[in-house]
């Protein structure tokens, strides 16, 4: 555990970058520092590996002051990832990743074998091992930066806006990858970003900072969305925090209806039977059960259903994997107001109305079931 104990940083020019900051960073989880530019996030992060020395207060690592060990020993036990990756352009990818193991005195062979292993772990093709950084895309370089930080298997990982310089699609990929790696490795990650969505997606705990180096709120993301401490945090969270909070409610409990689902080859009898269900529309699927679209019962004639004339079914969600937010989104996207639930193969397993989703949201709020993180 990292404990920041009323730490203040005053730069020589008088700027107070961090003001009496106190908080505890739990082990084996991702703690995100988020806030507007210049609020002291980087300064805070860099005080943990002593790239910046606090003016007042102290930082404890597992109960011991970080000054208790030599500075370079401390730093070698903490992976460090920065915005533009900061790769060594004169070294190949594999040698970049092998840097810290080499510093720790591993043989070249062992360090390179470890580097190759890490390339796979962060989703890099090992064919890139002998390339130089300039031959890689920004996203790939950032993966190398993460692999390099993980190379000596440090218990702590410090990341300063590591994904800010890549485009949104690549960024999402890197975020998902980080969550996957964290599931496998369970590091103590301190992550700095100015992007509140990134903070909410990645953080187990989120520290919202405000200009002047003050801690505005320190809470799990769901709590942040539910109960922002003040107007600053509320503004910073943005307009649709109610909707975003739904990301924390699983969609497993939704009561799905199977009755309004018909295959495209359904005969008149079946169409008739389905139409008597209390849904105003029927979801037509292909012969494998994958959704094609919605149709009104009276428009569907057995044997001659034209898939082109069906209404869009929006974006289906996967119960168990996706959240209530995805279910609600699916129902809003579909002109019928119903969301389609699918299994891992994309086959429709049920449909659910906005009313039912709404009821589930109210139940979830009432139960405060917001601890389980779910994707989507």
């Amino acid at each position: 555990m990292i404990r920041i104990d009323s730490v203040t940083k005053r730069y020589p020019d008088g700027t107070v970058a961090v003001d009496r900051l106190s908080l505890e960073i739990p082990d084996r989880s991702i703690t995100v520092f988020v806030g507007p530019s210049g609020c002291g996030k980087t300064t805070t992060l860099r005080m943990i590996n002593r790239m910046v020395e606090p003016s007042e207060g102290r930082i404890l690592l597992d109960g011991a002051d970080i000054h208790a060990q030599p500075v370079n020993t401390l730093r070698r036990s903490m992976g460090y990832v920065i915005q533009n990756a900061g790769l060594f352009q004169h070294r190949t990818i594999v040698d970049n990743i092998a840097t810290v193991p080499r510093l720790l005195g591993w043989s070249k062979q062992k360090a390179r074998a470890r580097a190759a292993e890490l390339m796979e772990r962060v989703g890099l093709d090992t064919a890139l091992a002998k390339r130089y950084p300039y031959q890689l895309s920004g996203g790939q370089q950032q993966r190398v930066g993460v692999a390099r930080a993980l190379a000596a298997d440090p218990p702590v990982l410090l990341m300063d806006e590591p994904f800010s310089a890549v485009d949104p699609v690549v960024r999402k990929g890197l975020q998902d990858e980080l969550l996957r790696i964290q599931d496998e490795l369970g590091k103590t990650i301190v992550f700095v970003t100015h992007d509140i969505d990134e903070a909410i997606k990645l953080g187990t705990m989120v520290a919202v900072m405000r200009t002047g180096g003050h801690l505005a709120q320190y809470a799990p993301p769901a709590e942040l969305l539910t109960a922002p401490a003040d107007e600053f945090v509320e503004d910073f969270l943005g307009a649709d925090r109610g909707i975003r909070r739904l990301s924390f409610f699983p969609s497993t409990g939704l009561e799905l209806q199977r009755a309004p689902i018909v295959a495209i080859d359904a005969d008149a009898g079946r169409l008739g039977a389905r139409a008597s269900a209390d849904a105003p529309y029927l979801l037509v699927t292909d012969l494998d059960g994958r959704p094609l679209g919605w149709g009104e019962p009276q428009d569907l004639t057995a044997g001659s259903i034209d898939p082109a004339r069906l209404l869009s079914y929006g974006r289906p969600f996967m119960p168990g994997r996706d959240s209530l937010r995805a279910a609600l989104d699916g129902s809003v996207l579909s002109p019928t107001g119903w969301a389609v639930a699918v299994d891992g193969e994309g086959r429709a397993v049920g449909v659910v109305s906005q009313q039912v989703i709404g009821a589930a949201i109210r139940t979830a709020h009432a139960e405060g079931r917001d601890d389980a993180r779910v994707g989507g």
Binding site: T73, G86, T99
Partner: protein
């Protein structure tokens, strides 16, 4: 007679190819003076440039020293040193080293200052010592520029080492000075040609050294 005839005459005269005043002997002397001067200049310029460049301090002082060094006329300095120190290699070395230190020092400083700060930050953050950062992170990236500083210094030394002949030493300057004195223009032109050829060879050597020592990851630009 034109210059080409002079050159041809000088180089085809077999008596110019042996003895203490022969081409091999004079070239060898010239190489020795040049290497020695470059060695001293690098010994001063490189460490000072590397350390000041790494810490980013003293840039203004360096610029001042460099300007002063460039403003000093080598020949004037030679005369002064000769009067002061008498015959010997030292009065020759001092002006040559003073000539060569500024390009080495200033280019090395600039080369280190122009290194991208983020790999340096990353290196420090992962626990590299300052000397490792300097030699394993900054130097390899700054190397092309540092070599270009050494190269300018070397070229200037090679052309200026001719002044050694003024104080009765050898080297290719011998041909030029003796030739002028004896009104033997064949000798003057021959000596000048040799100096130019040595400068070109120096360029070639630095090109090869850069090919061998600069990482392909840095060289691509």
């Amino acid at each position: 007679m034109n210059v080409l005839n002079f050159i041809h005459a000088f180089f085809s005269d077999s008596s110019h190819w042996h003895g203490y005043d022969g081409i091999p002997a004079r070239v060898w002397e010239h190489i020795q003076y040049s290497l020695e001067a470059l060695g001293y200049a690098a010994l001063i310029g490189l460490p000072v440039g590397l350390v000041t460049g790494h810490y980013g301090r003293g840039g203004n002082t360096l610029a001042l020293i460099a300007t002063a060094g460039r403003a000093l006329p080598s020949f004037g300095l030679l005369v002064l040193m000769f009067i002061w120190l008498g015959f010997g290699l030292l009065p020759v070395m001092i002006p040559l080293v003073i000539l060569a230190v500024p390009p080495i020092l200033v280019t090395t400083y600039e080369a280190l200052r122009s290194v991208d700060p983020s790999p340096v930050d990353a290196a420090r953050g992962m626990g590299m010592t300052e000397s490792r950062i300097l030699f394993q992170v900054e130097l390899p990236v700054a190397l092309p520029l540092i070599l270009s500083g050494l190269r300018s210094a070397a070229i200037q030394i090679v052309s200026t080492a001719t002044i050694a002949a003024y104080v009765s030493l050898g080297g290719l300057g011998r041909y030029i000075i003796d030739g002028l004195y004896q009104k033997n223009y064949e000798k003057v032109v021959g000596g000048a040609t040799l100096v130019a050829a040595m400068a070109l060879v120096t360029l070639g050597i630095f090109w090869a050294v850069a090919r061998l020592t600069v990482s392909p990851g840095v060289r691509r630009s």
